[in-house]
Amino acid sequence: MTNAKTRGETIELHGDIWKHIQPGEVVLDAQGITKRYPGGVLANDHIDFKVKAGEIHAILGENGAGKTTLMSILFGLLQPDEGEIYIRGLKVRFRSPEDAIKMGIGMVHQHRKLIPAHSVLENILLGHPRSKGVMKLKEAEEEVAALAKRYGFEIDIRAKVWQLTEGEKQVVEIVKALYRGAKILILDEPTSALTPLETDRLLESIESMTQDALGVVPFITHKLPVVLAISDEVTILRRGRVVDRLKTAEATEQILAQKMVGRPVIFDLQKQPVEPGEPVIQVENLSARNNKGVMALNQVSFTVREGEILGIAGVAGNGQHELAEALFGLRPIEGGRILFLRRDITRASVQERWKLGMGYTPSERTEVGSIPDFSLIENVAMNYYFDARFNHRGLLDYGGLRRLTEQIIDEFDVATPGPDVNIRTLSGGNLQKVILGRVLSRHPKLVIANLPAQGLDVGATEFVQRQLLAAREQKAAVILISEDLDEILSLSDWIAPMYEGEMVDIIPAAEAKKEVIGAMIAGVHQQERES
């Protein structure tokens, strides 16, 4: 649809569109962005927002509020049905991310798209015009290093990506976008996988970027403190619409949460006192290796009784994941013993563990916890295909499974067109509700919840946490694995910080202090003891 004239102009404009930017000037102006998905879902309904140079403009919204759609439109991954995008007053249309990148838009995905076996530098150069033909690696290396230094990023650009922590990978993605000339940086839930320390560091760097009059747009779901800490302005989305736009200075956590969810959110979970009963699970000296064959879980012992929540705190990669899988029989163990209801289940199969009354909600919800191409009913069947209530002499009672699924949808308030749609169409929060609802519908004696609220929005997080508390009140034992110390502190009866595959201690929650636990999961405590 382009005639030669506009095409010529475009090329010319590319060169100097980003010259002479004044702080405070509107650099990105999206007007009336509307996107309707097949099936009639209105993901974006006339969304307007502006990003000014030198400003951090946060977009806040629950899962399913339309953030991802908006972001994909801004980055050229999707085309809007209606609406216009202006960059420095110039109307643009992105047919692909390539177009968006050319116009100075950079995007950092939540699920990092890096090649693990390649070095940081190679990943940064991948797709860069410089990587065509003969690469001047030396020159590129200097440029990248200078760029990183400018914004205070500490990365070893020769390291392989698989060696990096999640926080470092995030930095690599940001530097990659900047190196491609991004002037407006879109960050998708930038801190969701980071530890508190890494988060602080990242926020500092993001702030330093605005000095160069870059526009930064972080998309954030549930980390309200992050929004308050870094943004200048915040736009709140709900059900595809802008519900409010305000200066961050005028906002509080309560105000933001209420506007985002559409109802008041109670941050204080009311935990009922429950008298602990018999031991449900007793673990003795459990050891296991990680996927690389390195011992990742070392001689861990603990007991959880009826009506108790054991919170396992720790930074990712300190053995919590291996612990959860070893407990559920998904990972071979190197030593130790597991007693469930005083019965030795160390060698029991996964199916036997389900039948005995164990339940597990994995952190990998789309890869392990559900089958994306199966309907909700078929996903619920994952926990019932062996159950005599739904398996009559080898025939599955799909009618009964349908009723059960409808019941879960109802009780867990799952937003879905119905039980027959593929579960991949559900948002993250709704997916987790189905998984948790399915597991809890078995009334397990033990629930192992691996990062149950990670990546969920405020409303879904609250819901999931309440369900875990409800299971506890019904005398289930709960093992809660979380990287969020606030979550651990507010839900647990006992807290076990993990560091390098060992349980540093097991502390009654009433006596636990956040700073002490924080130090323990960072290994400080360990070093003190050793010295």
Binding site: M1, T10, F328, V350, Q351, F386, L396, Y398
Partner: protein, 375 residues
Amino acid sequence: MTLGGYQVRLQRRVALPGWKAALFSILAVIFGLVLFSIIFLQAGQDPLEIYKQIFSYAFFNSYGLHLTINRFIFLALASFAFIIPAQAGLWNIGMPGQLYLGALAAFGVVYFAGGKSGDLALSAPIIILLMLAASMLAGGAYGAIAGFLKGKWGVNEIVVTMMLNFIAFYLVAFMIKDGGPFMNLGGRGESFELPEAARAPMTGGFPITLWIVFILTILLQVLFSRMSLGYQIRAFGKSPLAARYAGIKPFVIAVLVFTLGGAIAGLAGYHYFAAVPGVYKIARTYGYFGDLSFYGIICGLISLGNPIAALFIALLFGGLSIGGRYAQGKLHLGFGVDYALMGMLMISLVAFQFFYNYQILITKKERALDVDVSD
């Protein structure tokens, strides 16, 4: 994309009703036939006449129809042998090997019952049942090797089944060629002929294997849509990790699907060498039937693992291969035209599956003065 003021867009489908899927397949066949008629026109032939010859011979000529049905039975069994492991996400490329083993086992029963020289030690119904059972057992056991290696150590099932095909091919050669135990007394490089009593009974002019195909279709349909086991196979096929988490045992699934698939391939071997009138021996050209069983892969893939759909696809290709060969001879068409036509239809069928996932939307485009940045 825009065409003359209209915007053409692709949109992902949310759901596809079964009748639409069938409609697209029919359209795909018509499209393929139309496309191929260009080649006929190029060669100065009348495509309508050729298609008339092909289809009337394959489906409306009594002699041709029998050939078509026999080939259909074989292709349907080969498709099922592929579909069962495919539902578990595993590739059975070993139908030839499994069907050779099935055929050898069936002939082995006759051999040990003294049938090579003429008189059978057992009554006809018993010998036929034993032959059917032996062919399934042998094919199943041969398939199970791949399943076991896959389930136990994760050995690639494609490589294993392919290699097993070679072993089985030469095993048949050893058994039926000069000096082999199953050697034809005439020494024509083929096996001994089955005595009258060991040949599969006919019902309504077609061998009983036709009924076996229909029964298997229903059983497979029930297995995958109603049974817990079928659910477990499908769950494993969609996501092995999630299946393991749900307590489904990967080893059991791998061994099971290959045993079932192999057993059905074994039946295909039984069918062609012990049930098709006029054959009743392991022919010198047995390798041709091994290769033919690879069409089961294509039927299985086109039908997307649906046993009922596979039935229709198998019937189509069974008829085309018979009718195409006939028309080629009768109208003096070029060598290999029948295969080229089948290939064209396969490509067309696979290409039309695009419409299973996408629909094309055409909307009037509003013209806007916008700056295009895709230079």
